[in-house]
Assembly symmetry: C2
Homo-oligomer: 348 residues x 2
């Protein structure tokens, strides 16, 4: 028996999630370039690449360095990388080791990239409604032209339709994604740049992304799924592959306090979430409060006793995984392996 | 120059915060047993113990193992530790290496502790209004008597007045703390147990805790302070010793996106917080959105340019520190050291 709290991955559910996404992308002729920031594990990335035959998406140079060290040779950094300071040299070294593409959404960013890695391939990031990074789609041509003028190779456009993370918004976010990438592609063609890569996708929209306008999907969370995907209706609690195994440390009649706090589950909580995670084995239970080492859970019936163990699906699995040094791999209820979270904390 | 994002500690502010809390506790005759879960750094714990002459508070056996390895010999685990599985043996080993006390709030918990470490010193946890772990104060005698009957040594009572983490609640939470510990102490005396330790304290209430009823304070956050302490009025942004150094990666006219996302700042956000952290150098700026590698900030004036660096105070510094492998120590604007977050991820 292992001391709680720890993160456990159900291998059968993981493999089902991986296979289903690969099948769904292939059925639409879409390349699948999964975002490995979710799991940060070499073992899972190998399974993904074996299924998709393609490369990985990552967010940071440090993450890419970890996966390059593990032998992965095709990386897209879906992020407007600022190539200043030591990162300029690190990016150049990385470009010599792997097929590398990087996001760009400003002429200032493009200048730094061009100085750091002459001739680097870039994709212009466009905002499809999430309003984070990315330019409005009809400005994509302008950024692309300035990147080209600096000697960068513009391979296409990408977006993250993150506004799909709200109840009832999946379909409209997928439609926004299609429209944004379509407009951005036209904007590139208007300056004589062929956008051969048109990349989108988030886990909530992945099944809905347009197979004509898009060429590539970049979902991340789908490998494990999580409580917020279940509450969005993008998956079912039964398809959640990663849970925190926690112990009851204190209890009342209809409530219990678990040792899986925010230092295990992470504190992510969308305004529409019903709590700080979900218990797949107690669908009516709610995690009503979370502190660093405490999760307070209300139960519909009698709460489990002090010392009993329960499983908690984090709200947002990406940030939960980033707190752990390793994932415990379980198959048929038996511990079969431990996978290092190799890129944990690789933020730079 | 170091690649962003990273966590920087201003040594002068840190030392000022440490000294002021030690002085404030001493002025009231209170022992100071700081909660080292906030910083998880041996170097800071050494400074704390040098000032207080006392021991440390920690939350988990794994944290205590790290600090015991570093030579600390007096630990209170302010948590209802469940001493089952491998943890039973680990707790016994720990009790042989350090002066150890542990929290208890149930007879089930007491049974496991007594089986794991016969004669262990325990403090009964009482709920002073935070409604997390702990029994109602007038039931403290019952738990204490059951612990004594199992052979445990009951050294006193403790509480965490965590309901002080709400605007305008500091004074009433401190009053609740006094009342709860006073009632609990009487409940122990009623079963002929002298509560020689009466321990309380949170950073918002620490300056207000009663020096007659309490014997000991256990604040944690005060070493660094953070955005939520500033917004509670428990400190000033100028007293925040730890900030994330971040780069602007994308910008609009009055907004910028920084590379310090929830994998650096942590996602903790109380309902009353103005955003996902604060910028000490831009008091009017607000962190309006946070994702894993993006912090979207609105500025009262023109936003800084792509590539510029800004400092962000996390909402909750304990969970931000737990994401980092090291803290960069800065004195007078110059990097002077790096401290390992030795107990990062030590959750079991």
């Amino acid at each position: 028996m292992r001391d709680t709290p720890y993160l456990a991955v159900d291998l059968a559910i993981l493999d089902r999630n991986l296979t289903e996404m690969a099948r769904s992308a292939q059925a639409r002729g879409l390349a699948l370039r999964p975002h490995a920031k979710t799991h940060k594990c070499v073992q899972i990335a190998r399974r993904q690449v074996a299924l998709s035959g393609g490369g990985l998406t990552l967010a940071t140079v440090a993450e890419a360095e970890v996966f390059a060290d593990a032998g992965f040779d095709d990386v897209f950094l879906a992020y407007p990388v600022v190539a200043s300071g030591p990162r300029a040299r690190r990016l150049r070294d990385l470009a010599e080791r792997v097929t590398l593409r990087v996001g760009v959404d400003s002429s200032e960013g493009a200048e730094l990239l061009a100085a750091a890695v002459p001739g680097l391939e870039v994709l212009v990031e466009v905002d499809s409604g999430h309003h984070r990074t990315g330019v409005v789609p009809d400005r994509a041509g302008e950024v692309a032209a300035s990147a080209r003028a600096l000697g960068l190779q513009v391979a296409g456009v990408f977006t993250f339709p993150g506004h799909s993370y709200a109840p009832g918004e999946r379909k409209s976010a997928a439609a926004d994604e299609t429209l944004a990438l379509s407009v951005a592609a036209s904007a590139l063609r208007a300056v004589d740049i062929e956008p051969r890569i048109r990349s989108g996708g988030s886990t909530p929209t992945a099944a809905l992304s347009d197979g004509e306008v898009l060429t590539e999907l970049r979902p991340g969370v789908y490998v494990f799924q999580d409580a917020q995907q279940a509450e969005l209706g993008s998956t079912d609690l039964a398809d959640v592959a990663l849970t925190a195994v926690a112990s009851v440390v204190s209890r009342g009649r209809d409530r219990a306090v678990l040792d899986s706090g925010s230092k295990v589950l992470a504190a992510d909580r969308a305004a529409w979430a019903t709590g700080h995670g979900r218990l797949p084995d107690f669908p009516d239970a709610r995690v009503v409060a979370l502190s660093e080492h405490h999760a307070t859970v209300t139960f519909a019936g009698p709460a489990p006793a002090v010392g009993e163990r329960v499983r908690v699906a984090p709200n947002h699995v990406c940030t939960a995984v980033n707190l752990a040094d390793e994932l415990v791999v379980v198959d048929g209820g038996v511990e079969v392996d431990r996978w290092r979270v190799a890129a944990r904390g690789a933020n730079t």
